[in-house]
């Protein structure tokens, strides 16, 4: 049993739904209790799809158990076939139906429907959403794809994009464009937009392009073995990723890569522009699905000049890729699906930028660190109206804009270093180019936010009760929640902020200040002399946390009990920047 507050991934049948919803002419009959239909709203509200997912749920209830749940399943499958007339059916069970062991595959086969019926075994108590999507796509391909003659001209299949994917829609346009420039035909795109009949034609392609290994690698590996189609290993994210991808694809197709390489990216030049100097060495924490996290680390390090201080994924199936990548940056990878662990690491590392999922966006907001979203799980904001790819050269431009935008701008940062804080420009105020609220949490509070400390009670009560909960309004509650959080997290809770709720004594967290990160357990932390503390305050707020931490580390390593101004500058010279 695992205590879970938020989850990065849904259950595996939601992964199957992502495949079914992406496709056309396919229907999913899901043996599931009443209530599991909530999953429809992921597609209709978060992705804003204009039609219902092609899923029929049996929605059995307690009174049906032990009597006729099998019959309910069969009539649901029969009616779904008659009503929707799909080209193929996938059938399976959600977590509860898995327990009652009705065998949807066998029951559906007994109906002898005149279409392919693909049974799915998705163990809900072991596996999760991405695995479910991958397994579903793999099973469909296995059941439907057959060896056949290759197309005359070089061609490929584009594999992996699903419904509810992070920018899959836009990535696809970029990758199609690359193929067009290279003169490579796109045989089938799947699952997104494909019909079951299209899947039967997969074998005509010369090779496969795996855009999202999390969903397509299993199917591509099978096709390599059974249909003798090689598949791509490079994911075209970032300028270099895109260039490497173009070369890989050109080689597989036996064509000249030049026409696609010529396009190039504005991001490379922007990154060389002198005003980007301030980006150098920005400490960045990265977390997401394996593909996006590894790619983001590469872009951050080689194309933006950032320092990757943390890298992790919630996707255990692809943990190996992330471990390999982490070695490049000399850091320990974080493989976990426990968001509290991620939060603890962000707090401990004090990055200057977080690249993560919507979960990390909340963590970063709480800790007052700039953040950009790079990966699923998705939010309604991750389906922008505009074209906003992550892949290809245009994707690289998008990454540059999206990652740099939350940061303090170049000259602004210099002025700040020179003149320290003034009444209009201080850590409580937002950067001037940002229209949003500033980091709400004093840096000292971040330092104090120790991984194992009990958290404060959720302080969102200043919203009208019951109003904050619809998918569209979650944004609106953010400033309140964050402001309140700042109060409960602050060491100086006296400096309360307007709009923050009053924290009743009952929900006051037991002093954060006294708790240190587990990694520092057992180490005596030196105390700060008053003048050293005052000197520390003169350091710009966005590097102050790091300065404090380094100085304390320097002091404890040398057994210095009292940190003076001299210790501060000794530490500065020791660590440099």
């Amino acid at each position: 049993m695992q205590l879970s507050l938020w989850t990065y991934e849904g259950p595996p049948h939601v992964g199957a739904m992502r495949v079914a919803t992406a496709m056309k002419g396919l229907h999913y009959v899901l043996h599931a209790p009443q209530g599991d239909t909530y999953a429809d709203l992921l597609f209709t509200m978060i992705e804003r799809l204009p039609s219902r997912p092609p899923v029929t749920y049996t929605t059995f209830q307690a009174r049906d158990l032990g009597k006729d749940t099998a019959e309910i399943f069969q009539s649901a499958a029969r009616e779904a076939y008659e009503r929707f007339k799909p080209q193929a059916l996938i059938v399976g069970a959600s977590c509860t139906a898995e327990l009652i062991q009705d065998d949807p595959g066998g029951l559906a086969a007994a109906l002898e429907l005149p279409i392919p019926v693909v049974p799915l075994e998705l163990p809900s108590y072991q596996r999760k959403e991405h695995w479910g999507a991958s397994e579903t796509f793999y099973q469909l391909v296995r059941h439907l794809a057959v060896p056949m003659a290759r197309t005359e001209r070089p061609s490929c299949n584009l594999l992996g994009p699903t419904a509810l994917g992070f920018r899959h829609r836009d990535d696809l346009r970029e990758v199609r464009q690359i193929m067009a420039l290279l003169g490579i035909e796109v045989n089938v795109v799947a699952p997104l937009g494909a019909t079951p009949n299209d899947l039967t034609r997969l074998g005509a392609a010369h090779f496969n392009v795996v855009l999202y290994p999390e969903t397509a690698q299993a199917a591509a590996s099978w096709m390599q073995r059974s249909l003798r189609q090689p598949f791509t290993r490079t994911v075209p994210i970032g300028v270099r990723g895109t260039e490497a991808f173009i070369r890989e694809v050109a080689e597989l197709a036996g064509v000249d890569p030049a026409p696609a390489l010529e396009a190039g990216s504005r991001a490379s030049w922007y990154s060389r522009s002198v005003d980007s100097t301030y980006l150098t060495g920005k400490r960045v924490f990265i977390f997401g699905d394996a593909t996006h996290a590894v790619a983001a680390a590469r872009v951050a390090s080689a194309e933006m000049g950032f320092e990757v201080v943390g890298l992790g994924t919630y996707n255990r199936e692809f943990a190996r890729d992330v471990r390999e990548a982490a070695k490049l940056y000399g850091i320990e990878p974080l493989i976990t699906d426990d968001y509290l662990e991620v939060e603890a690491q962000v707090a401990a590392l004090q990055p200057e930028l977080v690249l993560g999922t919507q979960m990390e966006r909340h963590i970063a907001k709480r800790l007052g660190v700039p953040c950009a979203v790079i990966s699923a799980p998705v939010h309604v904001q991750d389906f922008p109206a505009r074209h906003s790819p992550q892949m290809g050269f245009e994707g690289a431009n998008v990454l540059f804009d999206t990652w740099v935008q939350p940061l303090m701008m170049g000259l602004e940062e210099h002025l700040l270093t020179m003149f320290r804080e003034d009444f209009e420009f201080h850590e409580g105020a937002a950067a001037s180019h940002l229209g949003r609220t500033a980091p709400m949490v004093p840096r000292e509070a971040i330092e104090a936010a120790a991984p194992m400390a009990p958290v404060a009670a959720q302080p969102v009560a200043d919203q009208p009760v019951l109003q904050a909960a619809s998918p569209m309004t979650s944004q609106a509650t953010a400033p309140h929640a964050t402001a309140s959080q700042a109060v409960t997290h602050s060491q100086n809770a006296g400096a309360s902020q307007p709009g923050a709720m009053q924290t009743s004594p009952a929900v006051q967290p037991p002093g954060h200040a006294s708790v240190r990160p587990a990694s520092e357990a057992g180490i005596v932390v030196a105390t700060w002399a008053a003048e050293a503390e005052a000197e520390l305050k003169k350091i710009p707020f966005f590097v102050r946390g790091k300065a404090r931490r380094n100085t304390e580390r320097f002091a404890s390593e040398r057994g210095v009990a009292l940190i003076t101004v001299e210790t501060l500058y000794d530490a500065k010279s020791h660590f440099g920047r």
């Binding site: 049993m1 599991d36 804003r48 619809s470």
Partner: protein, 427 residues
């Protein structure tokens, strides 16, 4: 529509109308969803779902929340070790609860919430909660209820939660008030009602659920209760067993519903109609003025309810009688005839009442009827909009303050807005 609303309808209602009962795919939430508002109402309570990853995913998706601060709900996710018997599920639960309470010393009441998987594997949460209560009381009370989809539909999760609290209510004749209001209300609405009751001389009122776990209202035989929500069948039954007398009234939606609901309470103190009117008339008139604005948009428009929260009948009554809307079909997940008696008497004749659901067939009926506005869940709203129908997502009706005089116009506005928006975008 006459400006004065008749308190006692002369036209026969639809209390003997046949009900279309359907059994097919039900496009509804399970009772776990109630946690989303219950955890905000009882602010020192924590809700621990004992279930699967699906339960956890439902909560964060349906809540849309991903609220940044740690929520006061969580899921203890059952894994294959628990199912294979490699781990004793009860030991595991004890461990999870201990870890949770350590993290959250501010929690005073913990609900173990049963789910479909926990019920199918027959994990006895009642016994588990008693065991844990023995360990953590009096600091933290531990209770349990079912929010599973196989037992409960959406708002029924509040019913099972409150029903679990009923045995905890102190039986204390000295402390018990005269009137108990049952059902979660936003604090602001509670305060409005309190003021009206005070002015009516009914100052002895308590609210259930309370705002804090330590403020459970006392009960006594012979005290009266008014249901503020139409989905509290089991809670009401248990309170009636304890001797609390339920006052039959329409639910306090709209001017008429609110007036009748308050009047039912006023009568217990022998107030005359004149005395009663003297107190409520200014509020009633203010609400009627505010409603009039929306009548222009809504009168004559046709309406189709998909089943969702059990609020459908009272809302249909309000929209038809006070705003002149035409009801095509009113679907409800469950029809409680006794609690709905006053509502059924007020509903117009000739409408289709449906109970349960076969969503595909209901969609066929809805498309054929082409109503001006469809009230439905989030899974259906955008697809219907894309077919050219105007929809109102029903979940907002549960998550917004809509009870009482001061909210009557807000409630009407929730229906007027989609129509106004469609008109604005078409212009």
């Amino acid at each position: 529509m006459s400006p004065v609303i008749p308190l006692h309808p002369v036209t026969p209602g639809c209390d003997d109308v046949p009900v279309l009962r359907e059994r097919g795919q039900r496009e509804v939430f399970c009772g776990l969803t109630g946690i989303i508002w219950l955890h905000r109402k009882i602010q020192d309570a924590f809700f621990l779902v004992v279930g699967s990853r699906t339960c956890a995913h439902l909560l964060q998706s349906a809540a849309g929340v991903m609220i940044f601060a740690e929520p006061r709900f969580a899921t203890a996710i059952i894994d294959d070790r628990d199912l294979a018997g490699l781990a004793d599920a009860n030991d595991e639960l004890d461990r999870v609860v201990a870890r949770l309470l350590e993290r959250r010393p501010d929690i005073r009441m913990l609900f173990l919430v049963g789910s479909c998987p926990s019920e199918v594997i027959k994990l006895d949460l009642q016994r588990a909660s008693e065991r844990l209560d023995g360990r953590f009381a009096p600091n933290v009370r531990v209770l349990s209820y079912s929010g599973s989809g196989i037992e409960t539909t959406f708002t029924q999760g509040e019913d099972t939660c409150l029903a679990a609290l009923v045995p905890e209510l102190p039986q204390d004749a000295a402390r018990a008030s005269d009137l108990l209001i049952v059902g979660t209300l936003p604090d602001i609405v509670e305060d409005q009602f309190k003021r009206v009751f005070n002015e009516l001389g009914l100052g002895s009122v308590s609210f259930f659920p309370p705002r804090g776990a330590r403020a459970l209202p006392a009960i006594r035989p012979g005290m009266h209760m008014l249901l503020a929500q139409p989905f509290l069948a089991e809670t009401a039954r248990l309170l009636e067993n304890a001797g609390v007398e339920r006052l039959s009234a329409p639910f306090p939606f709209g001017v008429e519903g609110t007036t009748e609901w308050l009047w039912a309470a006023a009568q217990t103190r022998g107030l005359s109609r004149v005395q009663f009117d003297a107190v409520v008339a200014p509020r009633r008139e203010r609400a009627e003025r505010a409603l009039a604005r929306h009548r222009e948009t809504l009168a004559g428009r046709s309406l189709f309810f998909f089943p969702d929260s059990q609020l459908e009948l009272p809302l249909a009554r309000f929209l038809s009688r006070e705003l002149g809307m035409q009801l095509i079909e009113v679907g409800t997940p469950y029809l409680h005839r006794a609690h709905m008696a006053a509502e059924l008497a007020l509903l117009p004749q000739g409408i289709t009442l449906s109970e349960g659901q076969d969503v595909e067939r209901q969609l066929d009926r809805c498309r054929a009827a082409r109503p001006d506005i469809v009230v439905c869940g989030l899974g259906l709203a955008n697809p219907l909009e894309s077919e050219g129908l105007t929809t109102k997502w029903s979940i907002e009706l549960v998550f917004s303050p809509v009870h009482g005089y001061e909210q009557a116009a807000d409630l009407a506005e929730l229906f007027a807005r989609p129509l106004a928006r469609r008109a604005a975008l078409a212009a």
